[in-house]
Symmetry: C2
Subunit: 300 residues, 2 copies
């Protein structure tokens, strides 16, 4: 089994959704990723939290076996994000973004993290993502996410960083924006030509598409009777995906496809409750059971 | 092997899409359905064409082995539809709808069609759909489609017709509109409670979801590098689905799931060219090969 490093945001979120609302709850890409990944492999987290960040959240991460030595406590407010979901849940409005201590985040890998084997660069400035890669001495497999803000504003740096990772995990709309291709197969071709041999395009409630040397693999999203809060689904997907790859310790096409399904499993649990709450009492047996449900869902 | 009856529109379409345009080309739900279905089973078509409808289109249908005795030639113009697709292809504007002879369409089954075994009621007035069911003496399996216009304007008649079929095949947005449920699992529950034991929700480029007593089955759309014209994809899906069911002559859960994949195969070929052009030289071996590609696309 390999270990997994994640670098990204740690946040306190306000979320409004048709099913209810939550105020000042644990959020941030690094948290969703780390907890999802922790169901499969040892995880190390790098991020910054303000002095208002409740200790209980760090205790929760540590309770999941996550190494939080890389989470820096800075003097100032924690990154706060607020969003409101529409009835359909596939659209949301950002109500506020208060960067706080995240504004000056410069990821530093603790010495003990430098030998990390799987590396996930969550959505931060592409030059910071690159600096993490340069601090890692010998990553087996590096993946990254990004967002519209960096695609628009830092496209040169972003391309340089993408060229250095093994895998880009990105939303469909962002893939289209990045590549100028509305067709996702051509968008994935474009990205793979830049460097990453593996591309995962996330499509929210429609699942995910994997593109690699073997071809294309389509994973549905798990059909749920109730989705309460879609926040963090993409990062939980990435966490489950990378965690499953770390647990298997090999990356042949079938292992990568199983990892896509494990990512989909973790994303499906994530959205059942607000914040990371569903992960608090999630059992490994439930993860395995839903993986098998994915077989029934797709077998013909 | 069973036979398949389709009742629906016969049209001449004008289509504008990013990849090109086509004027006054063969279209209509009954034509797409019948030709897709003809790759699997004997098909009988009921519809109305105007006196401007080119004989070559009827010759094409007959050349595919389709029984066109139920296609009535009326005095007046053929139904004409014009649409323009956006760059993303999942949105389109209707440019015009000229019903012509389709306005007074009252489907009459020729005597020889009354014993039809599989029946597909394409998108027409729900009372006309019901009248077809009442003319069929002993259908083994009846399925139907509908659209927003009937959901809004004839909701009582529509519910009565839905209650009489075995299977509703419907778009995601229309399923949400019909049921008032934004969640598709709950929407399918609602529809199944009305009568149909099987529900297929079509999601365009995102594939299709099947709901039946066995559970849920998710089929992706086949990822194509180029989609030229999405017109008729849904009807081609329904044609492939019903045709495959007719060919197998049983409807256990695995047969129904394979049929969903065959529907997806035919829809994927449909959109590769304008109008029904891709079907003109499509070989059975290509259909089988793409079915196998669907296995590779979904296997883990």
């Amino acid at each position: 089994m390999l270990n997994v490093l994640v670098v990204g945001s740690i946040a306190l979120d306000d979320v409004e959704a048709p099913a209810g609302s939550a105020k000042s709850v644990l959020g941030g890409a690094a948290c969703y990723f780390a907890v999802a990944s922790s169901f499969f492999a040892p995880v190390r987290a790098v991020g910054v939290a303000g002095n208002d960040f409740p200790q209980e959240h760090l205790d929760f991460l540590e309770g999941r076996g996550i190494d939080v030595a890389g989470i820096h406590r800075a003097d100032g407010p924690t990154f706060r994000w607020g969003g409101r979901y529409h009835e359909s849940l596939n659209r949301r409005d950002t109500l506020f973004t208060e960067l706080g201590v995240f504004e000056d985040f410069e990821p530093k890998l603790p010495e003990a993290y430098r030998d990390s084997e799987l590396v996930f660069l969550a959505n931060i400035h592409p030059s910071l993502q690159l600096s993490v890669l340069e601090q890692a001495t010998n990553p087996h497999f590096a993946a990254m996410d990004t967002m519209d803000f960096w695609i628009e504003g830092t496209s040169e740096e972003l391309r340089r960083t993408i060229a250095r990772v093994n895998c880009l995990i990105i939303n469909d709309e962002e893939a289209q924006q990045l590549t100028g291709e509305s067709n996702l197969v051509r968008a994935a071709d474009w990205i793979r030509a830049l460097g990453p041999e593996t591309v995962v395009i996330k499509r929210g409630e429609h699942g995910a598409l994997l593109f690699d040397a073997e071809g294309i693999f389509a994973a549905p999203a798990f059909p749920l009777r109730e989705v309460r809060d879609p926040t963090g689904a993409g990062d939980s997907f990435a966490g489950g995906f990378m965690g499953a790859l770390a647990r298997e310790d090999h990356r042949d096409p079938q292992a990568v496809r199983r990892a896509v399904i494990y990512g989909s499993v973790l994303a499906s649990f994530c959205v059942e409750r607000f914040s990371l709450d569903r992960f608090r009492n999630l059992e490994g047996a439930e993860v395995d059971a839903r993986f098998e449900e994915f077989r029934a869902l797709t077998r013909f």
